[in-house]
């Protein structure tokens, strides 16, 4: 087959070229792809070989393929993990914190986006957006620094104000229950503003005629939000919910690690911290690899499940 151009639907489409002509023309594309592909092979796929370690005896020197299989048909470490109190606590804490994040942190940007959408002064709206996006760009270390200062039991700004108002000081970061609340609240503080971007973009896709029609029918602000704005956000909300459900067993590291302290480890030790302490610091590579594998597999299952569910309800899903 020779190189030829064919007019198809009024568009010019390059038709099948011979292999050598194709490579002469598009070979550079493979050259461009080469480095990224090497990157993915080495730094994303090669680590997967070490997953084998989850089924092998723990050995801190030899790679897993040179080590004997673990007991119980190789499932020794999975069984041990589920008998390990620390791991079970970290599992519980991961689920608790993620569920609270979902319940509180997921609706927050939707409400904020509705609020910003109702702002009728454009200049002020832009200023507000600029400022509420800002915390997203601060690291959890910086935020922990801000939080330690602002929420300090005796001399933090919040407790000074509480004291002046006649309330007792609140140990925001030093008592387990308060810590959980603070953890969730700081998550909202950091990400709620940023996460409005997607919703605000979806809102611009809603036809102004719908609002006008609703006004003509006598709908006030809240009825318009309920009958026009929220239905317009439906598919965005569902897509994001799927992605969040997929992460229900995923655990961030920076956030709990930076905010944690010795007094609250009973609620702040999540799976990623368990892996760090027992794996990297404690050299229990097999056990922690097994835990990581468990986490990844459950994550994929949740994602697939949520995606299928969304498609059943007639939504587009993530893919």
């Amino acid at each position: 087959m020779k190189k030829e151009m064919v007019v198809n639907d009024g568009r010019i489409v390059a038709k099948r070229l011979s292999w050598s002509n194709y490579m002469k023309r598009y070979g550079t594309l493979y050259l461009l792809l080469l480095l990224p592909l090497v990157f993915f092979v080495v730094f994303r796929y090669m680590p997967m070989a070490y997953i084998l370690g989850a089924f092998k005896k723990n050995n801190i020197i030899k790679p897993p393929w040179e080590v004997a299989w673990a007991k119980n048909n190789g499932f020794e470490w999975f069984i041990k993990a589920f008998k390990n109190r620390d791991f079970l606590f970290s599992l519980r804490n991961t689920l608790t914190l993620n569920l609270l994040d979902l319940v509180v942190g997921f609706p927050a940007p939707i409400i904020l986006a509705l609020l910003l959408n109702e702002l009728s002064f454009n200049g002020f709206k832009r200023v507000t957006q600029t400022i509420v996006y800002l915390p997203h760009f601060l690291s959890w270390i910086i935020i922990s620094g801000l939080a330690l200062r602002l929420l300090a039991p005796n001399d933090g700004l919040v407790n000074i104000l509480l004291h002046k108002a006649g309330f007792e000081a609140i140990p925001f970061l030093n008592k387990p229950n308060w810590w959980v609340g603070t953890y969730v609240a700081l998550g909202v503080w950091k990400e709620a503003g940023w996460n409005t971007i997607i919703y605000l973009a979806a809102l611009t896709g809603i036809s102004p005629e719908l609002y006008e029609a609703a006004s003509v029918d006598g709908a006030g602000r809240f009825r318009k939000i309920w009958h026009v704005t929220l239905p317009g956000l439906r598919s965005t909300i569902i897509t994001l919910l799927i992605m969040n459900l997929g992460r229900i067993l995923g655990s961030e590291f920076d956030r709990p690690y930076a905010l944690s302290n010795k007094l609250v480890t009973s609620v702040s030790n999540v799976i990623s911290i368990f892996v760090y302490q027992n794996g990297i610091k404690g050299s229990q590579f097999s056990l922690t690899t097994a835990v990581g594998l468990f986490q990844s597999v459950i994550g994929v299952i949740f994602l697939l499940g949520a995606n299928t569910l969304a498609k059943k309800f007639g939504e587009r899903g993530v893919w």
């Binding site: 994303r44 090669m46 609020l115 009728s120 690291s139 922990s144 801000l146 330690l148 997607i198």
Partner: protein, 301 residues
């Protein structure tokens, strides 16, 4: 892209008295939100600029009292801090450049619908976004590659983000095919088309992704904690973490009693500001770009 500008949904509508009051209530709520976003930064800034006597008396709220720059001069006089700041800044620049090159190199070929094996490459890359080997396998690989405790471990393993690549790819998709075909008919190869047509049209998304990569590296912490022991290779966030943890333990120990903030306190706050200020400087300039970037990634991801 055009649509994001179309924010004036309610314009041209007749407003009743009650909506006007409603508008002002909303403005009020937004003012409170702005306040909540800024107070932590203002408080820490004020404390870092205040003298100890006012701090002890809990008199510093949002405005410095007994203004002085001692904390900042102490931090800048300490070689440990300046080294880390300069090191992290350099690292951020290098990482951003490498990451941008890798992102473009990965995204651009994937928009060619006649690229043979395109579906395979797409799947190969996307799979890594949904399934990760986990912390320990990554650690063991880097250990076996001899990368632990080198500067490379802070650059290479995180130099390409699939998420950012998708944003780039989606943006490239938005460039009309006809432009590319016209260039091809004129005899331009893929690289020339990329450099002369695609890149000049993509400045906004490039700025966005560069910001994401740069902020990611500047704020990066866990890779350094996991992979680096040499204090010369400590990025500013890890140094800051260690500083915050040090005095933090004293603070908890004296929960009931009296805590003397001392110079350490203002220095901690000054270090927080040093870690924050570069972001505060860069962010407003790029803000108008990144909304487009995030939106594209979300819609087409």
């Amino acid at each position: 892209m055009q649509k994001t500008k179309n924010t004036k949904l309610h314009d041209g509508m007749i407003k009743s008295r009650s909506t006007k009051i409603g508008d002002w209530i909303i403005v009020g709520i937004c003012c409170v939100l702005i306040f909540i976003c800024l107070v932590p930064l203002l408080n820490v800034l004020a404390r870092s600029l205040s003298s100890t006597e006012y701090l002890i008396r809990n008199e510093v709220l949002l405005w410095p009292k007994g203004f002085n720059l001692d904390a900042y001069t102490t931090v800048l006089g300490d070689q440990k801090y300046t080294h880390s700041l300069v090191f992290t800044a350099g690292l951020t620049v290098v990482c951003t450049v490498i990451s941008m090159a890798m992102t473009v190199m990965c995204a651009y070929p994937l928009i060619y619908d006649n690229l043979r094996g395109r579906n395979f490459f797409n799947g190969f890359v996307l799979f890594t976004m949904y399934f990760s080997a986990g912390t320990i396998p990554h650690y063991l690989l880097l250990k076996n590659l001899g990368m632990l405790n080198t500067v490379w471990v802070l650059i290479i393993p995180s130099c390409l983000s699939v998420y950012n690549m998708i944003i780039m790819r989606s943006f490239f998709y938005g460039v009309p095919d006809s432009l590319r075909e016209a260039a091809e008919i004129d005899g331009a190869g893929p690289i020339r088309t990329l450099v002369q047509i695609y890149l000049p049209l993509s400045t906004s998304v490039m700025a966005t992704l560069a910001l994401f990569y740069a902020v990611g590296r500047w704020n990066g912490f866990s890779d350094a904690l996991l992979y680096v022991k040499d204090t010369d290779l400590y990025p500013i966030q890890l140094l800051l973490y260690n500083i915050l943890q040090n005095t933090n333990s004293i603070e908890i120990g004296t929960q009931e009693g009296f805590f003397d903030p001392g110079v350490g306190e203002t220095m901690k706050m000054a270090t927080v500001m040093f870690a924050t200020v570069p972001i505060l400087i860069v962010y407003p300039w790029l803000q108008r770009y990144f909304v487009t970037g995030v939106t594209i990634g979300a819609v087409k991801g």
